[in-house]
Amino acid sequence: MISQFFVLSQRGDNIVFRDYRGDVQKGSAEIFFRKVKFWKDDGEEEAPPVFNVDGVNYFHVKVVGLLFVATTRVNMSPSLVLELLQRIARVIKDYLGILNEDSIRKNFVLVYELLDEVIDFGYVQTTSTEVLKSYVFNEPIVIDAARLQPLNPASMFMQGTKRMPGTAVTKSVVANDPGGRKREEIFVDIIEKISVTFSSSGYILTSEIDGTIQMKSYLSGNPEIRLALNEDLAIGTSGGRATYDYRSSSGSGSVILDDCNFHESVRLDSFDIDRTLSLVPPDGEFPVMNYRMTQEFKPPFRINTLIEEAGSLRAEVILKISAEFPSNITANTIIVQMPLPKYTARATFELEAGAVGQTTDFKESTKRLEWGLKKISGGSEHTLRAKLTFSQELHGNITKEAGPVSLTFTIPMYNVSKLQVKYLQIAKKSSSYNPYRWVRYVTQANSYVARI
């Protein structure tokens, strides 16, 4: 059972504090914040999500820079509590449209209302936005979304293609559109996070795709939905279940998932036959399906690094990045990072002629090179030359002192796994009922690393 729940700002202020059992001292938020803040002093990098101080267990998750914390004296399931914290954050976001310090402060009474129904006397009651609707009466005070655009995770869908309605993903499930009418619409997002490690010779050491089909429904009356995936989708390449080895057929275009899991509401009656999922989507945002894939795929970017020593106090680094995806696709907000030798004193950069929207930086404190590119379109190549000056003479191999090169990026309307939503069918209430349907794809880098 949970003793307390609280939300702290980055500075450690209480934004919300709810005590359910009265068996943990009132100063717990301060104890917690101190512990997290000074964790580094004990030689560790950052506080783990769960720790124990004087018999009190503190669980926390970080969401949009806020700390969502629960305390208990009991030996609980850590997964349960962390999952719950994440879920509470999501419910609040469903209600407020945008989750941040400002929106919680403006709506804290509503948040208390939610917390009262989500947990009673330390026991979880429900985290379903749908169910909670009937017990919560405060109207959300919606904060101005436009102002926050660049920070909003949803913004990744909006760059590049202008087809997405910008307000949709930041809309509260309970608030009405101006004019009092609720727009009937549903969003299905296929979000893939990819991890690739290239060896120094450019060979792929490991690769993995972690994908989620995320849904956010604003449909009234809870109609049933059918979601059809690739017909040749196969699940399971290893492990204890009865599966066949499809590996031999890879390359023929079939999608093979290592494993996947589904949201509570998903029914798999016909999944084995025609790969369709049926569900009655609850209100709010939720993952329909999570999947994992280690089948080989074509990495969207290749990175070439060349280091040339020029005398004992100088070296030149040449970074080349090539986009290996179709030319009608554009990747956004690419950041290339590379740790340089500790004794690097200065770095000067030389971009290719006519470069637009590119930035370079040498982070003095962390000795890190940073190269930002606003956009890269498919099939193109970009190069950066960096001249390094060292404060002490080089000895040994410079490649042992620098690298690896890491990349972060977002590629809207593209997914590497080739998993697709073939169609999204909504059970019709009447012939005129035709809600908006948005199916969106995006690929993001999770850990994209090239060793040198």
Partner: protein, 844 residues
């Protein structure tokens, strides 16, 4: 709600300090209290919000209690809710004022709107004021019967709240029985779940006082109830499912078919997107298959993919919780995960607590086929910018080397580390090379050549410096300038850590024995510095060496530098006992902390599921009359199933010789009820063979049961005659409970007759004999020569019982007794009786 009071000590500009604002608010509230003007509710809302926001940031607004209550007479539900929140927060510190709220809360409990009824009932039961409970019983009673499910769910929680304010009021109102009825019959799943939460909490705390509650508590893991829950599982929301699954993991099916039925039923829960549901399901699977080695292994194969999926989906925090569990399983059965090693590669952007777990997993799964790749990967991390992880990686490489796979190549890499010229890399590598040499002295030649090139000036960390010095001493004859390096180190005596100074003394001694003329000078300086040292250990060691040398140099050499044997295995830091405990507490914090729960929680807070663990400490013996005999099985096999292969073989062997230590052996369809209890006996057993058993096993008991062995027996004159009930009965649960509650009355050692010792070939023989003396056995274990028994006996005229823990070593014919008695005054009489019965064993 009230945040830390301290926070108001540092008011930031956005956080007013209070006083003025509060009195301002009071005025405004008063104005609005009586007003019926239109729009007054909106103004009230604004005011209430202000009050609550002050409350949140830690300003004491309890002085507004009266005004808040006055304003709360309103049909506006939003206002009502804010008022409830306020009242719930301050009632406890203002019990008198809380009385003011009773009236309107009670009236709201009868409102037409079920939501208002529910909310009012929740507030009423959250007041936490002891002298107001009389007002609570009525509304709670009708709330439990309400036709609206929301009100019932609130009322059920209200009943537990009442129990915490006044347990007797809750029991007297017969709420537990009402809850039980609801739990078994209510159509609403949340009501059922809440009843289960509530009853677990109530019965758990009542069971120390009442037999009935103990029975009820055990009823929660009975077959009918578990099946009832399993049949309704789909109705419960994910959190309710977690609760049910946690309970199912404690259930012991009576035959194998049942095991498979349950597993088939729960199979699809492994595909749930909620990690907590999946982990709870996995716990059920692991527990159900403990006694079925093959299936258990299949379970590992089956859960691999879902676990890996959970690790890679969700937030970093969630994936850490799952990863900790995966880590536990990998450590138990590394060979099953050997082919999945790539999943344990670190990603550059992972937090270090995740990387650490992964490094340990990589170390564990290394075997002949993957060592090369794993070590290559680890070497990449060693050059990493993240220094703590680089260090850990080097240590991991060293650990793999010590596991004996492909040592050759690894030694090369370690030596390359030494040449990298990064101080922390050198430091870690030195420590490893030292460990490696202790295990594989044959590599000394290669290593020493490289180590000899390291300048001791570049090594600063005490551990590394100590390692270097150890090698200088140990291989003084192979390193030409060893005496001179040591000598230069002695010159900086003051600057080094005590650890280094200790090593320096020993190393110089060793060097001296081999190359006396070159070392003599350094030795003299070192001994002088050592004897003058302020550090006690350094001082003592120097003085000791000095006197030893004075006495006889060759004796000194035998003492300080005897021929050494290579170390074959370095001691594991955690005992198997502890590891098993953690495994039994799967899906809890124990796994994340890598500690069993008794190490980080106090007794009252072990969680609602603790009770069956308690039963679990004891194997139920065959002699206990009303128990199904099938519950006693050789647990060695089950609980140690997933130790490393070599350990497993050992354990198997033990089972083979020791199979007669439990009652008849049953086929694998019967499962060890409480595996950990048995493993306790099994471990006692294992220790007993290598070690003079009793102390070791006592240490374990001590740990497990918190026995206070040091309590001296209270001297009391034994009553002349003590009659025992020949048909005493006690179930394992009560035994366990009593054993825990009672202090040790008498600790005694006694002797068996030589015939008795000879006759004790199996535990069985003694049980019958003791039964003939009205002393019943409830659990037994062990194998020749060490046996362990738990006995109990009951007085003939009254229910007072005696409990005995008896450890017998047949080779020495000695027995150790721990006697506990409910009636302390007769404990000595009983002790005498017990000993005489024991001494007659084998002679009659």
């Amino acid at each position: 709600m009230a945040p830390p009071a301290q926070s108001s000590r540092y008011p930031s500009p956005s956080q007013p300090s209070g006083k003025g604002e509060v009195s301002d608010l009071r005025l405004q509230l008063r104005q609005l209290a009586g007003s019926r003007a239109p729009g007054v509710d909106d103004s009230k809302r604004e005011l209430f919000k202000k009050v609550i926001s002050y409350m949140t940031i830690g300003i004491d607004v309890s002085s507004l209690f009266g005004e808040m209550v006055m304003c709360s007479v309103t049909p506006d539900i939003v206002l009502k809710k804010m008022c409830y929140l306020y009242v719930g927060n301050y009632a406890k510190v203002n019990p008198d004022l809380a009385l003011l709220t009773i009236n309107f809360l009670q009236r709201d409990c009868k409102d037409q709107d079920p939501i208002i009824r529910g909310l009012a009932l929740r507030s009423l039961s959250s007041l936490r004021v002891a002298n107001l409970v009389e007002y609570l019983v009525g509304p709670l009673g009708s709330g439990l019967k309400d036709n609206n499910a929301y009100v019932r769910t609130v009322a059920v929680m209200g009943a537990v709240k009442l129990y915490h304010i006044s347990a007797s009021t809750c029991i007297d109102a017969d709420f537990p029985a009402t809850l039980k009825h609801l739990m078994l019959n209510d159509s609403d799943s949340q009501v059922v779940v809440n009843c289960l939460f509530a009853l677990q909490e109530i019965w758990n705390s009542e069971s120390s006082k009442s037999e009935e509650a103990t029975r009820e508590k055990e009823g929660l893991i009975s077959k009918p109830f578990i099946y009832y829950l399993l049949n309704r599982l789909r109705e419960f929301n994910e959190w309710g499912q977690c609760l049910v699954l946690e309970l199912v993991a404690k259930y012991v099916p009576s035959d194998t078919n049942e095991n498979f039925d349950i597993m088939n039923l729960l199979e699809d829960r492994l595909q749930h997107a909620n990690g907590a549901v999946v982990l709870a399901t996995i716990k059920v699977f692991l527990q159900l298959t403990l006694s079925m080695a093959d299936v258990h292994q299949e379970v590992y194969e089956r859960i691999k993919a879902p676990l890996l999926t959970l690790v890679s989906s969700g937030s970093p925090e969630q994936s850490y919780a799952v990863l900790s569990h995966l880590h536990l399983l990998v450590m138990r059965a590394p060979y099953i995960f050997a082919s999945d090693y790539k999943h344990f590669y670190c990603q550059y952007n992972e937090p270090s607590y995740v990387k650490k777990l992964k490094l340990e997993m990589l170390t564990a799964v290394a075997n002949e086929s993957n060592t090369y790749e794993i070590v290559t990967e680890l070497c990449e991390y060693a050059a990493n910018v993240d220094v703590p992880i680089a260090r850990e990686s080097i240590r991991a490489v060293g650990k793999i080397a010590l596991q004996q796979y492909d040592v050759n190549a690894i030694v090369d890499r370690l030596l390359q580390f030494l040449e990298m010229e990064k101080d922390y890399v050198t430091a870690e590598a030195l420590v490893l090379v030292k460990d490696l040499l202790r295990k594989y002295p044959q590599w000394s030649h290669d290593c020493i050549a490289v180590v000899g090139n390291i300048s001791s000036k570049n090594v600063q960390e005490p551990k590394a410096k100590a390692a270097l010095i150890w090698m200088l001493g140990e291989y003084a004859q192979d390193m030409d300038d060893a005496p001179y390096i040591l000598e230069s180190l002695v010159e900086n005596w003051e600057e080094d850590a005590p650890e280094v100074r200790l090593h320096l003394l020993t190393a110089i001694m060793k060097c001296f024995f081999r190359r006396p003329p070159e070392t003599q000078k350094a030795l003299g300086i070192a001994l002088a510095a050592g004897v003058a040292d302020f550090h006690q250990d350094v001082h003592d060691r120097a003085l000791f060496y000095y006197r030893l040398l004075q006495y006889d140099v060759s004796s000194a050499e035998r003492v300080v530098n005897p021929p050494k044997q290579a170390v074959s295995v370095f001691a594991d830091t955690q005992s198997n006992e502890i590891k098993d405990r953690i495994f039994d507490e799967f899906n809890s914090l124990s796994v994340v902390y890598q500690k069993p729960s008794y190490m980080f929680t106090d007794k009252d807070h072990r969680g609602p599921f603790e009770f069956s663990d308690e039963i679990g400490n004891l194997a139920v013996g065959v002699e206990s009359e009303h128990e199904v005999p099938a519950t006693s099985v050789d647990a060695n096999e089950t609980s140690d199933l997933l130790l490393s292969t070599t350990e497993k073989e050992e354990t198997r062997a033990m089972v083979a010789n020791g199979s007669d230590y439990t009652a008849p052996l049953y086929d694998s369809s019967t499962r060890a009820l409480p595996s950990q209890g048995q493993s306790e006996l099994a471990i006692t057993n294992l220790l007993g063979t290598s070690d003079p058993g009793p102390q070791a096993s006592m240490a374990i008991d001590d740990l497990l049961m918190g026995l206070d062995l040091t309590a001296p027996p209270a001297p009391a004159s034994a009553p002349p005659s003590l009659k025992l009930n020949a048909r005493a009965a006690l179930d394992a649960g009560s035994f366990q409970r009593k054993w825990r509650e009672l202090p040790v009355a008498i600790y005694q050692e006694c002797e068996l007759s030589s015939q008795g010792a000879a006759a004790l070939t199996s535990a069985q023989a003694l049980l019958q004999h003791m039964q003939g003396n009205s002393i019943q056995c409830i659990a037994s274990g062990g194998q020749s020569p060490n046996f362990k028994f738990f006995f109990f006996a009951q007085k003939a005229e009254e229910p007072s019982v005696f409990l005995v823990e008896c450890k017998i070593n047949t080779s020495t014919a000695k027995a150790q007794l721990n006697i506990k008695a409910e009636d302390q005054s007769t404990s000595h009489g009983f002790s005498a009786l017990f000993q005489s019965a024991l001494s007659r064993f084998g002679t009659s």
